[in-house]
Symmetry: C2
Subunit: 208 residues, 2 copies
């Protein structure tokens, strides 16, 4: 049986104590993946950003807020796992500074400098060794090309291309690509069923 790490949900990058940058990732795909792996008898660890859903009993969850925190937790837990599925949608940018008090309205525009956050899967890839990595790509254009670039950059063994309406919805449309650029499968349906499809692809290609 395998030990699988799943990153899940969004992260938040605060500009002041109240306001943040984020996205509508709900954690539902991460949760559905956890269920699919648990149902097949595998062990599941989750690193999750702030979500309102409950993860299935039987998996251990560590909650984080920022991308930096998700990175550290993921690196620590990956060391003890056989593979990782990057189902989280971590913020790629964070405000360069975080104000200690709530920014007040003055009538003037506000200029916010955003810096890039660390790339979690790329960091895990650097410590990959014999482990496998499944990435997700959410692209609004040039999906297959960008998904393959992501796969290469993050040394993924499989990448799941996700269509934008999927975020924060219960339905999803996905395509799985292997490192040689072949389509391993496609699926349209509920996140629960999509997670089972992904489990099937991972089981076939990566678990032994």
């Amino acid at each position: 049986m395998a030990k699988v790490l799943i990153t899940s949900g969004p992260t938040r990058e605060y500009l002041d104590p109240v306001r943040y940058l984020s996205n509508a990732s709900s954690g539902r795909m991460g949760s559905a993946l956890a269920e699919a792996f648990l149902a097949a008898g595998h062990e599941v660890r989750i690193v999750s950003g702030p979500v309102e859903i409950a993860y299935p009993p039987g998996c251990r969850v560590r909650f984080v807020t920022t991308t930096e925190e998700m990175l550290h937790a993921a690196i620590e837990l990956f060391a003890d796992c056989d593979g990782v599925i990057g189902a989280a949608a971590p913020c790629d940018f964070r405000p360069a500074a975080r104000a200690s008090d709530k920014i007040v309205k003055t009538g003037d525009d506000l200029y916010l400098r955003l810096v890039e956050t660390p790339d979690i899967l790329a960091a895990l890839a650097a410590a990959k060794q014999g482990r496998w990595i499944v990435g997700f790509a959410l692209e609004t254009r040039d999906g297959p090309v960008r998904a393959m670039q992501k796969l290469q950059r993050k040394q993924c063994d499989l990448i799941i291309l996700n269509h934008p309406p999927a975020i924060h919805s219960d339905r999803t449309e996905i395509t799985a690509f292997t490192p040689d650029g072949a389509v391993l499968g496609t699926f349209i349906g509920s996140k629960t069923d999509a997670a089972r499809a992904i489990y099937g692809w991972v089981e076939r290609r990566l678990l032994h």
Copy 2:
């Protein structure tokens, strides 16, 4: 019996199709207020940003995403109500532009120009006539002073000062101020009980 409009939850201001500015408002206070007013036999309309909670059956809810959308829905519904409780935490700033495709990482910093969004309660105040307005103030410093400034700017008949840890939590600490600057009451406890306390204050001062 009164007809009450409650604004609730956060709003989102997108910089591209996936990323947005927001805050951790969960809609729980708006929902608890709706319950308190419904329990006392009043009619409740809600304008809510994106939330994961369910509002109580018996109130009509209109969902919106941005502050601008919340403003338009609130103005429309306020015309037919006796008063409004501004329990929402609308984004005060929005990106000046929204990219039509997901912004890609280039290794460079990103400069985001933010402009102020319209002030919903101030806009309702302009059409106030005989109606009452209850505002919320979430401040990280100078709470009472800023709450009173807000009360005046938005012509509130009551303002509830909320302490920041309250956001996205089930416990809350609130103080109610009247237009003459007097403390009408304070409360520390669950949001459900705080909503009942607020209902009591509104009932005593504003309902007839």
